[in-house]
């Protein structure tokens, strides 16, 4: 990886962090409704895994997916406009926080049912093999999904049929308010996938370069040998499950402890010599203005007219 690419990854992580901070602020101001699940703390996972992909590969996420959409190249203006429920949003304001779709960048959602994206990813992998092309599918979901039937059915299919699907489980320690140890008979999530005879591994999800390495390895195998892989990225969300989360299930000390492993700060330190203090400062300022523009764009955008209610139900 060259210097420019690393700086670009750093820039994306800062973008996601600032975007999510601002989204939380806009929610508190009443500009954003519904559920809002912020990605803060998990930036290394989206950026590490998505930066390794080609534009023609497929990415699918769950409902904490703003960061993944942004890392995939979605326009921050249109992501913010979607959160604001405006016509200029990625999904014309019909999807909202949990349903970001950007077909131009092969970003295929945005799915609000835990584990629901996993069979869809298998189907995309099936389509790749059907067409005899060499794309890969990267599918993100949380630790809660491993307890769903869809998880097991999907892992069996991708392994049985050699589908080029990379399943990335973002283990952020909690399925809403339930700690992994209270939900999973094996607290090491990656072991849950091992009986399906596919490559599995666990990676430090607070380390963007470790995520990138894992992604590169997985993609090589998936592209050339059609080998699926299951990767657990061990990470942490700093904020609540959603904005409505009282956070009574974990301690302040625990959150502080994880913050000492902050993925952006850690990456910045590891880039010393590559990324100067001035570079970091400049990126910071650039991203501030990108976010300010996104908010302004969203705020000024029109809502869809009421007649649009019935559009997009059928093709």
């Amino acid at each position: 990886m060259d210097k420019q690419e690393k700086i670009e990854m750093y820039r994306q992580m800062v973008l996601i962090r600032k975007f999510e901070d601002k989204a939380g602020e806009m929610y508190m101001q009443g500009k954003i409704g519904g559920f809002l699940h912020l990605y803060i703390g998990q930036e290394a996972v989206a950026v590490g895994f998505i930066s390794a992909l080609r534009p023609d590969d497929y990415v699918i996420g769950a409902y904490r997916e703003h960061g993944q959409a942004l890392a995939r190249g979605a326009d921050p203006k249109r992501v913010m406009a979607e959160l604001f429920g405006r016509s200029t949003g990625l999904s014309r304001g019909k999807g909202g926080s949990m349903h970001m779709f950007d077909l131009e960048h092969n970003f295929l959602g945005g799915h609000g049912i835990v584990g629901g994206g996993m069979p869809l990813a298998a189907g995309m992998g099936l389509a790749v093999n059907y067409r005899e092309t060499d794309q890969v599918v990267t599918c993100f979901f949380g630790d809660g999904a491993v307890n769903e039937g869809a998880f097991h059915e999907s892992l069996n299919l991708v392994s049985l049929w050699n589908l080029p699907v990379i399943y990335v489980c973002e283990n952020n320690q909690y399925g809403m308010g339930t700690a992994v140890a209270r939900a999973s008979s094996l607290p090491e999530i990656f072991r849950r996938a091992q009986c399906y005879d596919l490559d599995t591994e666990s990676v430090d999800g607070m380390d963007v370069l470790a995520c990138r390495d894992a992604a590169d390895r997985a993609i090589r195998r998936a592209r050339k040998e059609k080998a699926p892989r299951f990767i657990e990225a061990v990470t942490y969300r700093y904020r609540g499950h959603s904005m409505a989360d009282p956070g009574t299930y974990r301690t302040k000390e625990e959150i502080e402890e994880w913050r000492t492993k902050d993925p952006i700060e850690r990456f910045r330190q590891s880039l010393e010599g590559t990324l100067t203090a001035e570079d970091a400062q400049r990126i910071e300022e650039e991203m501030n203005s990108v976010i300010a523009e996104a908010v302004e764009f969203a705020d000024k955008s029109e809502e869809l007219p009421a007649e649009a209610l019935y559009e997009d139900v059928y093709a």
């Binding site: 014309r92 295929l108 099936l126 869809a150």
Partner: protein, 333 residues
């Protein structure tokens, strides 16, 4: 025209569409080597190979999801559920995903998928293998629902469903697979959303779909001998529903009987009757009648199963109620 069974007509529709469009493929439990639990996919594996006729493990959620995922990126899957009863395991994928992806993506995605499933009772298969679940799917915006009663329609409607860019739930009836009918040699299709008048009449309109059309036609024949001319309408597509044809018929007959194999409560007939009391209020001369399956889990015992299902006699009784006349008893069974 050739004579063929409902099963053969469905098979031909899939075969011809797969020949026409390389993006069309079939996926499901035992659709390949076993050639389908009801032998609908006979010969397809041999002709198209395992890439396009895909046998799956017993994983309904993943089968439906894989079909939907492949449709999201441009393929046109035909997903076979061995029976509709098993589709309950795939409801999350069908209802939360297939039906909503276009809307949630602001029109970016289309899901050109057909989910075929046999349903229905009458073979002593007991409560878990005899359900009629069309109203579950009718309830969901984003889905289309098709229910053919003849070989001709089975082929023509399946072709239209495969060519449609939306998720289509395509109901087949287990007792219709062996029924024969005329099917043209040449390529044809039957448009979705258009009902068919199976029998013209002036005294009462009987509306039905799937196997119950045959019950309705049998009842109409018996009624003819009593001087009652029943018009029988086969809906063919349940969603979108062709209300215009029903209203047109009511303008003539002023009486309606719905015959359905599902349950009355929130069933297809509920929707038909509710729509028509608004669209055809001024043409009605009698309360609309509904004939449906008894609201019990389907029993195994032959006599009880028969008692649970609509019969020609129960249709005749309903027709006479709309005429405010004493009913008459069928002498044959």
């Amino acid at each position: 025209m050739a004579q063929m069974t409902y099963r053969q007509a469905l098979n031909q529709a899939m075969r011809e569409e797969m020949q026409r469009d390389p993006d069309v493929y079939l996926i499901g439990e035992d659709v390949g080597e076993y050639e389908g639990a009801y032998k609908v996919s006979e010969g397809l594996l041999q002709e198209f190979g395992p890439k396009r006729v895909i046998d799956t493990p017993i994983s309904e959620e993943a089968i439906a999801g894989a079909g939907i995922g492949s449709a999201m990126v441009g393929l046109r899957p035909i997903v076979e559920m061995m029976t509709i009863n098993f589709a309950l395991l795939a409801m999350d994928q069908i209802v939360n995903h297939a039906a909503k992806l276009r809307y949630m993506s602001g029109g970016q995605l289309k899901i050109p998928l057909v989910l075929r499933a046999p349903q229905g009772a009458g073979m002593q298969l007991g409560a878990q293998h005899s359900q009629n679940l069309e109203s579950w799917f009718l309830h969901v915006p984003g889905l289309k629902v098709v229910a053919p009663s003849t070989p001709y329609d089975a082929k023509g409607l399946l072709k239209s469903s495969i060519r449609d860019d939306n998720p289509v739930i395509f109901f087949e009836h287990e007792l219709l697979y062996g029924v024969k009918g005329e099917v043209p040699e040449e390529d044809y299709s039957v448009p979705l959303g258009v009902a068919e008048v199976r029998r013209a009449g002036s005294d009462v309109t009987i509306v039905s779909y799937l196997r119950m059309v045959n019950i309705a036609l049998g009842a109409a024949k018996a009624l003819e001998s009593q001087g009652v001319e029943a018009e029988v309408i086969d809906l063919r597509t349940l969603k979108p529903m062709d209300l215009d044809t029903l209203v047109g018929s009511l303008k003539k007959t002023h009486r309606l009987v719905v015959v359905e194999e599902d349950y009355k409560t929130c069933g297809t007939g509920s929707e038909i009757v509710a729509s028509l009391q608004k669209e055809a209020f001024d043409y009605l001369d009698a309360p609309m009648e509904r004939v449906a399956t008894a609201e019990v889990p389907m029993p195994y015992a032959k006599n009880l199963e028969r008692a649970a299902l609509p019969s020609e006699q129960s249709v005749i009784d309903a027709v006479y109620r709309t005429l405010a006349r004493e009913t008459y008893q069928l002498t044959r069974v």
